[in-house]
């Protein structure tokens, strides 16, 4: 399979603080790829860099063409959905309006309406709360909403930033289960950023370990799981 996303020597900085020092990785079409690393390693910044949300240097190719330097709004139109750090909920809008915004760039009105039902079968809780102000949803529900909003784009590539953050293990398992379904039945490729390395490695096909803005290790999930250093630092056994 060809690489859907190919990142080469990516640098990024916030003002004068450099965060990424030449990251390279690739993501196969149809796969789930995980970026692992501790706090401050540059995982979130990597996702932001892919979406044109920070100033970057280096190459990002998506589906065969360069997307580095493009605006966030244009990158979204290529079918890249980003579930941001902190969930990015539109807190004063209703759940349904949040979902509708996810499909903002789509022109196929009819299919969008059908997608509401599709989303509600994945997350029945959101259907119950569809007229509720999104800011009043629980953390888990807001994470479901963030994922659903991204799915409303019908993305080819889904960028997930710490979907497990601050959530109860049961809800995390539910969300990860749905991610697997979406990946397998809808052929959505997923780039997953996680601190919870154990769960991420169970879900992902491949993983990259990032430390201080560089990739230090890469391989299939099972290879990474067996790595002595990863086991000690990220898996804790």
């Amino acid at each position: 399979m060809a690489a859907l996303l190919e990142v080469g020597d990516l640098h990024a900085a916030y003002g004068t603080t450099r965060v990424l020092h030449g990251i390279s990785f690739s993501l196969e079409e149809g796969s789930i790829t995980a970026l692992l690393g501790a706090n401050g390693a540059g995982k979130t910044t990597t996702l932001r860099a892919l979406c044109g949300m920070v100033d970057t240097q280096g190459q990002v190719s998506y589906a065969g063409s360069r997307i580095d330097g493009k605006s966030t709004e244009d990158i979204v139109r290529l079918g890249i959905a980003h579930v941001p750090d902190g969930r990015g909920t539109f807190v004063n809008l209703s759940t349904e309006e949040n979902l509708r915004l996810g499909a903002y760039v789509r022109k196929d009105r009819k299919a969008v309406e059908d997608d509401f039902e599709r989303i509600y079968t994945y997350f029945p809780r959101l259907k119950e709360r569809r007229h509720q102000q999104a800011g009043t949803l629980s953390g888990g529900e807001q994470q479901m909403l963030a994922v659903s909003r991204a799915l409303m784009l019908r993305p080819r590539l889904l960028l997930l930033d710490e979907p497990s953050f601050g959530l109860a293990p049961l809800i995390v398992r539910e969300i990860f289960g749905i991610m697997r379904t979406i990946n397998q039945s809808e052929k959505v490729s997923i780039l997953l950023v996680e601190q919870n390395a154990a769960m991420a490695l169970d879900l992902a096909d491949r993983a990259y370990v990032i430390e201080t803005g560089r990739v230090v290790l890469s391989g299939t999930s099972s290879e990474i799981k067996q790595d002595e250093a990863v086991r000690r630092s990220y898996l804790g056994y």
Binding site: M53, V76, T89, N92, R100, L101, Y104
Partner: protein, 290 residues
């Protein structure tokens, strides 16, 4: 009693105009957290455009419609050309730009059209509606048009995809970009809409206060008071505040403090609200971690 009711209706009529201008202020405030001090002068300039068109022989409603459209375009252009470069500037720089815009619009209008006071026609009959003695036809018409504008705006924001996108962009620009909304253009659209609403308010108030480059000075103060009373981030509150300020101003001016001190009502309200309840009646209380 009759005199009192007359004042109340007059208050509702001007209140509708304050409500429109307040709404224009709130729209820009919600998106950018800046109060547009030039809002009144923009409306005044629009009213002069309408006056020129009517004088050039256009029918009233044709001129009205053209003015609204032209004001919208001018609002968009002002945002793109003048406001955009100071988007990320400190708040005081933005205030200075707004005041500069106010003075420029005021002077340009005076230069083009002279400072002589002009009459501006009302599209409504001069005879009172159904011979009632409380309220003139223009007052009823102005209230009616204000309500239509407010309803249209409400429907636009509530029911159209573009309206939803504008609300999203104002609320959470980062997330809005991530769903593909062009946030910069939403701001420009907001300015366009604010200018269009302002132009309607200008055309409705001009027959009452007459047309001159300084006609919106007092009105802008009342509109600030209205926006603050209602809560400066609440569109519904702005409308409520507008009508409340209009009625208060007229009733207090006629029966309590006299017409000369009417403007003080606005100033007292502004200071009173800021001291006692800065979030206004319907605004949200902002809590932030420091």
């Amino acid at each position: 009693m009759d005199a009192f009711l007359q004042q109340v209706f007059a208050g509702l009529a001007t209140g509708g105009i304050y409500a429109s201008v307040a709404l224009a202020l709130v729209m820009i405030y919600q998106a950018t957290h800046h109060l547009n001090f030039a809002q009144g002068e923009m409306a005044m300039f629009s009213t002069y455009l309408a006056w020129s068109m009517i004088n050039a022989g256009f029918g009233y409603w044709t001129a009205f419609l053209l003015t609204v459209i032209l004001s919208f375009v001018l609002g968009v252009i002002i945002e793109r050309v003048i406001i955009r470069p100071v988007e990320n500037a400190p708040v005081l720089s933005v205030v200075v730009v707004f005041i500069g815009l106010l003075v420029i619009l005021n002077s340009i209008t005076g230069w083009i059209f002279s400072y002589t006071i002009k009459t501006f026609p009302s599209p409504f009959p001069t005879a009172p509606l159904l011979g009632n003695k409380f309220v003139s036809s223009h007052q009823i018409g102005a209230i009616g048009i204000t309500l239509v504008v407010l309803l249209l705006l409400f429907a636009f924001f509530r029911f159209t995809p573009l309206g939803l996108a504008m609300r999203a962009a104002a609320q959470n620009p980062v997330s809005a970009k991530l769903v593909g909304i062009r946030v910069g253009w939403m701001l420009a659209l907001g300015w366009g809409l604010a200018a269009a609403i302002g132009s309607v308010a200008g055309m409705m108030v001009a027959p009452i206060v007459f047309l001159d480059p300084n006609m919106m000075g007092g009105i802008l103060l009342y509109a600030f008071a209205a926006a603050l009373v209602g809560g400066v981030d609440s569109p519904g509150g702005a409308v409520f505040g507008g009508f409340l300020v209009g009625v208060l101003e007229n009733v207090l001016g006629a029966f309590v403090i006299g017409n000369e001190l009417k403007l003080a009502v606005a100033l007292v309200l502004i200071i009173g609200v800021l001291v006692v309840k800065p979030s206004g009646f319907f605004g949200k209380v902002h809590v932030s971690r420091v």
